[in-house]
Amino acid sequence: MSRWPTDRLLLWLLRGVAAIAGAIVLLIVTFLVMEALPVLRHVGVARFFTDPSWHPTEGFYNLTPMLWGTLFAMVGSVLIATPLGILSAVFCHYYAPPVIARPYRRLIELLSGIPSVVYGFWGLVVLVPLIGAIHPPGPSLLAGIVILTIMILPTIALMADASLANVPQQYLRGAAALGLPRWATVRGVVFPAAKSGLFTGVILETGRAIGETMAILMVCGNVVQTPHSLFDPMRTLTANIALEMAYALGDHRAALFVSGLVLMGMIAALVGAADWISRGRIYG
């Protein structure tokens, strides 16, 4: 242990601050559980996956179609946004002349702050009619995936950008000394060196994709059904909460909180799986 008294103070200060952060997570989970408890007691967990449909006013609470909607939208958008985002970052650092790289980076930073309602509004007014002209009705899983991709792209692009910036110069010089061409350097030297940052970026963007509410609400059609094609309208769990929370009372309201818990469970499972797969290999 360090012999400087300031270090002791710093450590305890930091621990206090981290405790606050930890407390927030616990508080949110507690809040969700407490609000969801009434309906879990009346209705039981199984019915949330086996009831015939989602019609809370009639007493039907099946969440599965919306669960699939959330999953498909998330997987679709992450699959498209991750390579685009990482390639954008590679572009900024290794392929673009500085006069293009700077404004490009500014553009992406800008886009991370645009409200979801603006994306949703644009999607509703521009994208949905476009898709509707190809294949009615227009509001669909595809619209949701496109809008989500645009929304989460800045997260992965900026995180990747920062991780690539942190790759030590010696690595790059070593690669040049060995005569490696550009893409080989990027793929063989830069990516492995930056993997913890890239990994964090993917986790953060997935979190954003799962939690997005407003934009999805406007472009996905909000019909409670399991989508069987890209052009089918669907409803995600988040859009469900947003649509119905304002008007829900009693068990209906508690059922919406159950869907919030399911969402948290989903991301906890994803994060746990990612942790298990990486098992120290990323942060080693």
């Binding site: 509703l124 509707g132 649509l243 929370m245 304002a246």
Partner: protein, 279 residues
């Protein structure tokens, strides 16, 4: 480090100074003063906010805070005392008898189509058939050969309840391709799709139609849809808009509710394309 410390100290001082003032609810004698918190339906929120602003200009020591959150929230908050007044955009239900409700305006609900859709009118039976999925193509009702995109409102919305009540349907029977939340979302969905049908508040639809949005309002039961026909009572699909309080209102709340129901705000109500009641 000194730069940082100064910044932190200054901002803390600023924050403390800023939070030193707070409003308190008080009604003293003739002088109206204090703050009213009003929560509830998002349809009513813009109207009540505008009325509130005019009230504030008449009584400078009063603050009227309007929040949205939905009719059910308005009812719940009024019951629990979290809000002074609740805004409810529908007729009061049986189990809401414990609240005192004061109607402030009326609003109609009508079906809308895209302007370029050749269909000019639909009978009640046709609308029911379209919404329950029995008719799926416009040519069955005299339109183009195109599949119908049905837009329904989300569960719990007052417009949905008015619609279901009039056409004697249940929400489980409706087969929709799109479910919308707010009125404007419905308007934009129909405006972007030539083969869509939806239903929204007449006020919203009339405003948009007269300002260049490519939609048209369909008559119901032979009566043309407009704020005028809602005013005369001829239009069958209409809903009252209420302000509700838990015990009978008194003091500032009563003064505000009286003001809302007075003729002085009829121009504001018409400006928002609702129908004033006192006529």
């Amino acid at each position: 480090m000194t730069k940082c410390t100064t910044l932190v100290v200054l901002s803390m001082a600023g924050l403390i100074a800023a939070s030193a003032s707070a409003g308190a609810q008080s009604t003293t004698g003739d002088q109206l003063a204090g703050k009213l918190v009003i929560t509830g339906a998002s349809t009513l929120a813009p109207l009540i906010a505008e009325i509130g602003k005019r009230f504030e200009s008449l009584h400078p020591t009063v603050r009227i805070d309007v929040q949205s959150g939905g009719s059910s929230r308005g009812v719940a908050d009024a019951r629990q005392g979290l809000a002074d007044i609740g805004m409810v955009s529908r007729a009061m239900k049986e189990d809401e008898r414990d609240l005192s409700a004061f109607p402030v305006a009326r609003d109609g609900v009508c079906p809308i189509l895209h302007q370029k859709n050749p269909v000019q009118a639909l009978t009640d039976e046709q609308i029911v058939a379209i919404y329950t999925g029995k008719i799926t193509n416009w040519k069955a009702v005299g339109g183009n050969d195109a599949p119908i995109t049905v837009a329904n409102k989300a569960e719990g919305r007052s417009t949905l309840e008015v619609f279901l009540h009039y056409f004697k349907l249940k929400n489980v029977d409706i087969k929709a391709q799109v479910v919308i939340g707010d009125n404007e979302q419905g308007v934009k969905t129909v405006a972007g799709n030539r083969n869509a049908i939806g239903y929204v508040s007449i006020g919203t639809a009339e405003y948009d139609a007269t300002h260049g949005v490519p939609i048209k309002l369909l008559p119901v039961g032979g009566v043309a849809a407009s704020t005028e026909s809602v005013r005369t009572g001829a239009f069958p699909l209409s809903r009252p808009l209420h302000l509700a309080t838990r015990p009978s209102p008194s003091g500032l709340a009563k003064a505000f509710i009286d003001y809302t129901q007075s003729k002085a705000v009829h121009d504001l109500i018409r400006e928002q394309y609702f129908v004033p009641l006192a006529d």
